[in-house]
Structures are given as structure tokens and as C-alpha cells.
Amino acid sequence: MAVCIAVIAKENYPLYIRSVPTENELKFHYTVHTSLDVVDEKISAMGKALVDQRELYLGLLYPTEDYKVYGYVTNSKVKFVMVVDSSNTALRDNEIRSMFRKLHNSYTDIMCNPFYNPGDRIHSKAFDNMVTSMMMQVC
């Protein structure tokens, strides 16, 4: 399952970032930050028809020797970045897509919460629980 999940606002600052092995957190923060460049590249490559321009799911952003990074961007330019352990080869594309859908649905629910100001950090318990369910398998 996922090792680190981040929600990034359209101004490119993190709204929510959580990683499972809680030591080495800075490494994941850095990875997510560098992956933002790849996300921007994919979004702006719309004119060149390299990716399916109409899709929200961006796919594998880049692999490293320990883990792979996947991206998803919403229509409101909020980006979801997921870092997955490379040793977990059983994780298929469909599963990653469904995990992003769940993230998107939870994010939409947060947006509709009248007590949430768009642009603030996300403190919702429901969102936390949903993210935990996606990350729990790794100890």
C-alpha cells in the first residue's frame, strides 16, 4: 500500500502530507516536492498530446530504486501525490486509480464542509481515517 500520501494546493503548498514510517519523513516531503515539477510538466504537455489530456489521473510520475511516485490532478488544480513502495509489485494501475478516486471523493467532502476554509491545512478526522486505511498495511 502507499507509503506516503500528500495533498497539494494549486499554489503548490501542502494541504496534507502523511507518511507511514514516521522517521525519514523529510525524505518523503522532499520527494513529493520534486514530483511537483513532473506534475506541472504533465499538465502543461496538454498541447502536445503526450498524455491523454482529458484525464485526471497522471500515472507514474517517476520511479526511484526504493519507491514509485504516482500523481493525480483535479480540475481545481489540487494535486494528489502518492508514494508507493517499489517492492510492492502486486499493486496494479487500477488499484492506484481507485485509491486516487477515494482521495478525490474525500477531498470533495472536505471542500463542502462549511467549517473548512479553502486553502487551510486539512485536519479532518474522516480524511485521516480514509488515508490510514490506505496506508495501514506497511508497518
Binding site: K10, M46, E55, T74, N75, S76, M111
Partner: protein, 158 residues
């Protein structure tokens, strides 16, 4: 279905309630319109997030405006915008010939000066939706004959 009437009645009560509260308070008329517009702004942000959850990514500004005119307007007001005009330089005029929030009021000149109060929320709705999609704008509305009205969207280039 009853859900349409619910929103109409709630909206009318919202406008009336705000003005009543303003009369008892400072008596500042202009602030009510701003409050209504800000309410619409926040609601628009949430609504757009929900509506664009499953749609494909937008290619450009015109695409976004067309989405607002068709899908967004249909979901909120059960009809599409009748006419969209643009000068291709960031000004769009959305014309609705039978605006749902005004049809129940009158079809003539009787309540013309009260009409802007009922349009403020919708202006905010459009502005909030656009802002969440990454477009800064100013939305104004005008009514010449009820129940037709025009919303003018001015895109701010950053």
C-alpha cells in the same frame, strides 16, 4: 420535484432575512449584497469541486465558461444559459431569459429595483466556481426586463 422549490424558498428567505437583520443593525444597505455574494462564493467553490469530480480536464477558459453555462447551470437551475457572448478578451456575458430565481416574482417592471438582491448570490456562485477552477473574475448582473437577466464576467489577468 420538490427540491427546486426548496432552494427558491430558502434563497428568498435568505435575502429577506439578511435585509431584516441589516435594518435592525446598522442599516447599511450595500453590505447585504456583499454578504450574499460572499455566501455564494463559498458555496460555488464547494459545488464546483463536486461537479468537476468526474469531468475531464478543461482545455481553456472558453471550455470552462461553456461548462458553467451548460452543466453547472443545468444542475443548479435545471436549465442552460440561453446565450453566451464574449469579446475574446476576457469579458463574457451570460444571458438567461427566464432566470429561475426571478420567475416567481413578476414578469414586468413591478419589482425591478429589488431584483439585484436576488442576483447577488448567483453572482457569487459563478465567481466562486471560477475561482476554484483557477480563474479570478468579477461577476456583475443586471436586469432589464424580468425574468431575463445578464451576468457579466470579467476575467482578471494576474
Amino acid at each position: 420535484m420538490a427540491d427546486e422549490a426548496l432552494f427558491l424558498l430558502l434563497h428568498s428567505e435568505m435575502v429577506a432575512g439578511l435585509y431584516r437583520a441589516a435594518e435592525q443593525g446598522e442599516g447599511e444597505n450595500g453590505r447585504c449584497i456583499t454578504k450574499l455574494e460572499n455566501m455564494g462564493f463559498r458555496v460555488g467553490q464547494g459545488l464546483i469541486e463536486r461537479f468537476t469530480k468526474d469531468t475531464a480536464r478543461f482545455k481553456d477558459e472558453l471550455d470552462i465558461m461553456k461548462f458553467i453555462c451548460k452543466d453547472f447551470w443545468t444542475t443548479v437551475f435545471k436549465k442552460q444559459i440561453d446565450n453566451l457572448r464574449t469579446n475574446h478578451q476576457g469579458i463574457y456575458v451570460l444571458q438567461d431569459n427566464k432566470f429561475r430565481l426571478l420567475t416567481q416574482m413578476s414578469a414586468g417592471k413591478q419589482y425591478l429595483e429589488h431584483a439585484p438582491k436576488y442576483l447577488a448570490f448567483t453572482c457569487g456562485l459563478i465567481r466562486g466556481g471560477l475561482s476554484n477552477l483557477g480563474i479570478k473574475s468579477i461577476v456583475t448582473a443586471e436586469v432589464s426586463t424580468m425574468p431575463a437577466c445578464k451576468f457579466q464576467v470579467m476575467i482578471q489577468k494576474m
